[in-house]
Amino acid sequence: MDYSNFIYLKEELSLIAVIVILLLYDIFGSKKSLNYFQPVACLLVGVHLLLTCCPARAALAIFGDTPVADQVNAGVYPLLSGMYNLYPLGSIVKSILAIGTLIVFLQARNWLEGERTIIRRGEFYLITLFTLLGMYFMIAAGNFLLFYLGLELASIPMATLVAFDKFRDRSAEAGAKYILTAIFASGLSLYGISLIYGTTGTLYFTDIPAALTGSALQVMAFVFFFTGLAFKLSLVPFHQWTPDVYEGAPTSVTAYLSVISKGAAAFVLMVILGKVFGPLVEQWQAILFWVIIATITVANLFALRQQNMKRFFAYSSISQAGYIMLGVISGSTLGMASLVYYVLVYMFSNLAAFGVISIIEHRSGKETIDDYNGLYSTNPRLSVVMMIALFSLAGIPPFAGFFSKFFVFAAAVEEGYYWLVFIALLNTVISLYYYLRVVKSMFINKNESAIAGFRSDGYTRLGLVACSAGILLLGLLSVVYGEIHHYSLGW
């Protein structure tokens, strides 16, 4: 076996190194030194991010293997006899996920320093990084076995995170709902994979398309497989677990679940639909067409009547997943680029919103929309951050959310889905109503007993500033989208 291949697994290896260091620190660190756990964790993830961020080509050039670098630049480079795929776009998505994880870590401090969680705060960072590792493997997989292991590594520890506040009934209940749906979904996916194996005789992504004939059994296998991933992405009609889990989980975990986990699953779904189920393109486009319409519409209608902020954002994230699927259904280069860009923008917007929800919940214990009445008079800066995030989610022009929506719509129109885009546009108007409802309650509604003004700690502020900068700059810096588009050619 050729061990020199391992040098190309730099993302996974550096993340494993971070996990091992943090694990040893958590076990052997003195009680006093553990107070610095969060800064150390953030620092290590930051170092890991630097390693991941340098584009694949530059990194490979450092290690002096130019032929491989050229091949990677041209497209996918299989490693470990095809089990693991090295491709630039995958590295970009991995760094996007790592940035999101870093922001979640910055915002988690308030909650973790609480009385009941302080004793096991180290576990939060460790388990989160484990799930991140699972998503890395999912993204890089070139075989259904590695894909399945990545999927499970991303979802089993996630259940323990959801049930992290184990003395709170709601957290435990959300954990049970999450783990049971997650196993059920992966069981459905597995049944699909087993039928694919039975009809094609291989599990390698590169070999399957040639053996796909479009027989009824293969279409059924695809439907099972898609259903499993749709549960993860919470597409309608597989979305019922989402609001409950989002409401019950600790807010930092909800933020992680709604952004990082969903972004990784969306990207992987597009890669697998394009690369593996390419021959079945007519079937999956027909399925996706109706799923997208149902997802966007149903989620928007339910979001209208929510009072709890976390539940509200759960439905909002379901409808956002529908918009992300618009990039998937096009199946083109533009679709891929717009999907990655959408995930990036959505990550900053949603993390900003959840950062505000998290700090307000921690300081005042309030989490319904009515509680936000008059927030601007007491906490002007938090209200402005929340407003920027909501405008970006709704897609109002100067903010990045407008451009990301524009690109996914453009990708779908390019493939001739006029009706689909029309329905999505109508839904954008509906979504504008409920996003603005929150803005109205913060800025216009009067309230005698508004949430008292407070000063948040440095880490949370750093996280919120990073998110706001992302929302404001990403739309204006066209170089970001250009770069993503450049690397998604021939994904």
Binding site: F144, L145, Y148, L149, E152, I156, A159, T160, A163, K166, F167, D169, R170, A172, E173, A174, G175, A176, K177, I179, L180, A182, I183, F184, S186, G187, L188, L190, Y191, I193, S194, L195, Y197, G198, G201, T202, L203, P243, D244, E247, G248, F302
Partner: protein
Amino acid sequence: MEGLHLEYYLVVSAIMFFAGVYGFITRRNLLAVLISIELILNSVDINFALFNRFLFPGQLEGFFFTLFAIGVSACEAAVAIAIIINIYRNIRNIQVKNLQQLKD
């Protein structure tokens, strides 16, 4: 091997799979729901092993997938049971109908 065709095993695994799906939807006890899911996972294991044995005897991919799937489903069961025990400690009950703090 005469008389035992691929189809017989496939029928068994399909029945197991759909019994699992039915149980997942109708059972009223969290542990029974978990058992139903295990039925689904086991039907998948059967599928992989017998496809490999009957259709592609020269390779080992299916058997390996079965081994991994068994290991992973054990982890899943461990985490799920831990969470169910935690619920029992909180509300002294593991009936699905008592999980109603989170709803629309």
